[in-house]
């Protein structure tokens, strides 16, 4: 990790990506409305929100899968438009999608290097395999063989392959959409370690998760979305009830009512 990076690396705390007033409409539905978001180098930003809050849509806009209807995106101080996934990758925005987006018919090596193979006209399989093993080692991944098709791997193993792939190109920003949803206890901890390691290398990290414990464990800032709009920025010190209130949009919500009911029951018991 100590080796100097050849590419232009943002100083810690410098803003890499800046979104202002980004909106996305699918027909009559406004999935995102006037979203502002800053992503800084060496910082983990957690995106939280209920189902349908627009988290995945926002990630897809940044990954070049969807184009925003209105709004501006600045990357390293330059206004940019992320027209397609290839453009996002070139700029240095890597994404681990919720559905992982792996090709089941190809093996692990082919998936890791997909679209970025070494030596396009005479693939360097040996070099690619070595780098695949090294990368998976670094992530403490338990993949039995990198020459097996993805179809034969378990959910957790696929998740690891997807994360490894996003790191391959040494991106400036890595976005993880529900990275721990399919993982076991030890592997969740590994992924959280990994997120911190990636942050310490000076990358910006965007983490989407429903798991407040994970979010608090690693996030420097917690950005809450609600019904496609910004609904506050918090830190890991924020109390749980405050976060839940921001996510659900009311201090009086299903979670608080449930807690109150439990407390009442204890009181009368």
């Amino acid at each position: 990790m100590a080796t100097s990076q050849p590419i232009m690396r943002a100083a810690k705390g410098e803003t890499i990506l800046k979104l202002r007033g980004v909106s996305k409409q699918f027909g009559a539905v406004s999935a995102l409305t006037d979203i502002d978001l800053d992503i800084n180098a060496g910082e983990v930003v957690a995106l939280v929100g209920d189902n349908g809050a627009g988290k995945s849509t926002l990630v897809k806009v940044l990954a070049g899968v969807h184009q925003p209807t209105t709004g501006s995106i600045e990357f390293m101080g330059q206004p940019v438009s992320i027209d397609n996934p290839g453009r996002a990758l070139e700029m240095g925005i890597a994404t681990v999608f919720q559905d992982l987006a792996l090709c089941e018919n190809l093996d692990v090596v082919a998936n890791l290097f997909l679209g970025h193979e070494l030596q396009p006209w005479a693939l360097d399989e040996v070099q690619m395999e070595v780098r695949a093993w090294t990368l998976l080692r670094e992530l403490a991944a338990r993949i039995p063989s990198v020459r097996e098709p993805i179809a034969s791997l378990s959910g957790g193993q696929r998740q690891t392959v997807a994360i490894a792939r996003s790191l391959l190109l040494d991106p400036k920003i890595i976005m993880l959409d529900e990275p721990t949803a399919a993982l076991g206890v030890a592997q969740t901890a590994e992924v959280l370690n990994l997120i911190e390691r990636v942050r310490d290398r000076g990358h910006g990290v965007v983490l989407i998760s429903h798991n407040m414990e994970d979010v608090r464990a690693v996030a420097d800032r917690i950005v809450v979305l609600r019904l496609g709009r910004n609904n506050g920025i918090f830190t890991a010190e924020t109390s749980n009830s405050e976060l839940v209130a921001a996510i659900t949009g009311a201090t009086e919500n299903a979670v608080s009512r449930r807690r109150a009911r439990k407390e009442d029951q204890e009181h009368f018991a």
Binding site: N84, E90, H116, E129, V130, W133, S145
Partner: protein, 413 residues
């Protein structure tokens, strides 16, 4: 592996995986693969043996060297078409118009070369260009309008047939000169014996040289290799099979140049599909289009390349067919050409569902198809029966493909 102090190879550190080493291991791995539905070339091998046994018992002429030489002459044209079909099948698309495309190409050669008196090279280039343009049209219809290739090529089938009839005009058929190089190439040109033997030994030699190089590089990178014995056994088997085939063919007229050209195209396509970024992208698009797109692959361009290659190879197949028959007629490319080309690719092991296949399937599949067609002709069966039997063979091939796919899914491959 003998050195105890050496750290385990990078890919050998997981104790849960059984590592198959040596010839025994290679055979065990092969059996595992077949059981889980990864049939590879097994159906073709079984099919060829069955077909040869049946036809040889019905008519001994079937196995005569000269009949096999004829079979190879016939196989080259449809084989080229089938090679193009492999490309679109890997994407999970289809081209149903390859027969008509080959017919139009053969008509173009007849009109431009025989009728208009232009150089033959120009005529062939025109045919190939027509194929490329047609492929471009299909890919554009798919990319821009989302028109399923199944429909666009079905309408293309009729349109191209109409074009073929239009440019042939009222006479309907143009004879090509028997003294021309093109027709000689398609009917009589045979490799000298020394060249055929050399070409039979070459693949095994290349296999060993490249295999040793790969082993050295893998060892240097601390990766395991399947072992020298497996490599040598494979090369020996291949060389023996090729030598026996060539010696047998040389009892008759010998190995046709036209078939050699077809095999060279197959080898080239195999390289492109397995050793280049383009080939990787083809399989990725066929396996999971959205994943390929998100990896930064230009899906539209990959589709464009596949359809253009398919139609161009179909056109080239049409040129070879006109050379073989020494005529450009209204019948060229009609009848069972379409079905034979598609059936050959599927029988050879290229999946209709996309993401799986190889250039070799065109070569192996066309041998099966041509053997059936040749055997039935020797039995003096009418084309009505031939069509029915070829149709049934395609149905069986697709059933095998579907069953293998279900088996792969249940075995997690």
């Amino acid at each position: 592996m003998s050195d105890q102090n050496k750290p385990a190879a990078l890919d050998r550190s997981d104790s849960r995986v059984r590592h198959d080493e040596g010839i025994g291991g290679a055979i065990r791995a092969f059996i595992d693969r077949v059981r889980s539905g990864d049939l590879g070339m097994l159906p073709v091998a079984i099919g060829l043996i069955l077909i040869s046994a049946v036809f040889a018992s019905l008519n001994p002429v079937f196995l005569a060297p000269n009949n096999l030489v004829n079979l190879l002459f016939d196989a080259a044209a449809v084989g080229c078409i089938s090679l193009g079909i492999v490309c679109v099948l890997i994407l999970g698309e289809i081209d149903l118009s390859v027969g008509s495309m080959s017919g139009l190409a053969s008509a173009l050669v007849g009109v431009i070369w025989a009728n208009m008196g232009m150089p033959v090279v120009l005529a062939i280039l025109a045919a190939l260009a027509a194929g490329a343009v047609m492929g471009m049209i299909y890919a554009t219809l798919l990319n821009k309008f989302g028109m399923p290739s199944f429909v666009s090529t079905l309408s293309g089938l009729l349109a191209l047939l109409g074009m073929q009839l239009y440019i042939l005009g009222p006479t309907g058929s143009i004879n090509l000169s028997y003294n021309s190089a093109l027709v000689k190439f398609g009917q009589i040109l045979i490799m000298p014996h020394w060249l055929s033997y050399l070409l039979a030994i070459l693949p095994g030699a290349v296999m060993i040289v490249m295999g040793l190089g790969t082993m050295r590089r893998r060892a240097a990178a601390n990766l395991s290799s399947p072992g020298l014995s497996v490599l040598l056994a494979k090369a020996a088997l291949l060389t023996a099979a090729l030598l026996i085939a060539v010696i047998y063919l040389n009892q008759g007229r010998g190995v046709p140049y036209m078939f050699g050209l077809f095999v060279a195209l197959v080898v080239l396509m195999n390289y492109l599909l397995t050793r280049t970024k383009w080939g990787r992208s083809m399989f990725a698009v066929g396996g999971n289009r959205e994943a390929a797109r998100r990896s930064g692959i230009n899906v539209n361009r990959i589709r464009m390349s596949a359809f253009m290659l398919c139609s161009s190879l179909a056109a080239f197949g049409g040129v070879l067919a006109s050379a073989r028959l020494a005529t450009s007629s209204q019948q060229a490319g009609t009848g069972d050409v379409n079905l034979n080309a598609i059936a050959a690719a599927v029988i050879g092991g290229t999946s209709l569902f996309g993401g799986r296949g190889s250039a070799w399937s065109a070569l192996l599949g066309i041998l099966v198809i041509q053997a059936i067609s040749n055997g039935l002709t020797l039995l003096n069966l009418s084309s009505s029966l031939r069509y029915m039997i070829t149709g049934a063979v395609l149905a069986i091939a697709v059933i095998v493909d579907s069953l293998a796919r279900q088996s792969r899914a249940s075995h997690g491959r």
